[in-house]
Amino acid sequence: MDFWQLALITGLLLAVLVAFIWIGLNIRPVKGSDKSKHKELLKDAEQDVEHIFSDSFREELRNRGRLHFEKIISENAMFLQQDLRLTTSQVNDFMKQEISRTLQEEFKKYEQSIADAKQIAVDSIDKTREAIEQQREILGNQLKEELTKEKDLYLKRLEANMTEILTHYIMAAIGDQISLDDQLEFILSQLEANKKEILDDIKNGA
């Protein structure tokens, strides 16, 4: 239905309304004869209204109104659908952006955490290695000292018992090959070396 048709219908309705109002204002309490005239006028007005606004006209008005209403509803529905689609699309895009941004931020934080943890681990390993090196050096020095002490101790023991060791070794090595006769020269040399003491002792004893 076009606009002018709608305006026409609206104008007609207004005219009718004005007419009724005028009639109503100008209706005087009439006497018996006035009342019957009045009644006739009313009856005529009703007939005219019935004549103008017949069932078919009303039905036509209804159909036109229904069609117009349906059209408006359809258009509004279409607008609404378009708006909804646009809004949904925008919401989707917004969600995607937000999720992507949030995920990227979280991944960045995660990467930073991993990097920090890695650095901490590397620092810890370096410190541990330094501590181990220090300990190794300390232990190495201690071991050297201990070994030196042990060596000195063994040397002292060896020196203290050297003659017994050598004697034992010589006897074990060549004891069965040295006869007393072979020692005669050594024994006589020892006797010569101690001759004076032996002589003095025998003389003093005698």
Binding site: E159, T163, T167, L180, L184, L188, I198, D201, I202, G205
Partner: protein, 167 residues
Amino acid sequence: MVHKVMDSFVLPVGLSSRTDLMKVKRELEDVDEFIAASKVRQPGQTMTLPRSGKLLENLAEANKLNLLDDNDRITLKAELKKLVEHAPVIHISFASSPSGQFLDKITGWFRENIHSSMLLEIGLQPSIAAGCRIRTNSRYFDMSLQQYLTDKQALLAKELRGAGSEY
């Protein structure tokens, strides 16, 4: 019968110890008894000849004494008695038993350098290893290889330290 006074009684090197001396003394007494018995022997009576070792014969020979002569036997007996009572004794220990020749040389040295009547008491100490140890009445002489090495210990320690420092 007269006992001759001898200026220097010679002990042969074979007679080195007091045990040998006592043995010779017993043998001389046996000879003396035999000769005394033979003088009073009845004809036909058998007699047992005394056993005399080489030591007695060597002793008599070294001192130019005749065992058949009574005076010589008396002299010999007196000298042996003197030796038993007064001869100096020295204890000497070796790592093993010495041979006769070895002992003769040692005895000869002592009699030549220390006392002409020196007697030796031989002992065994395997721990000596080499050399000998001598004990007199009042002193002790360690002439073993161990003592010899102990005396040279400073030198040995020095050599040992020098060798140890190379390692």
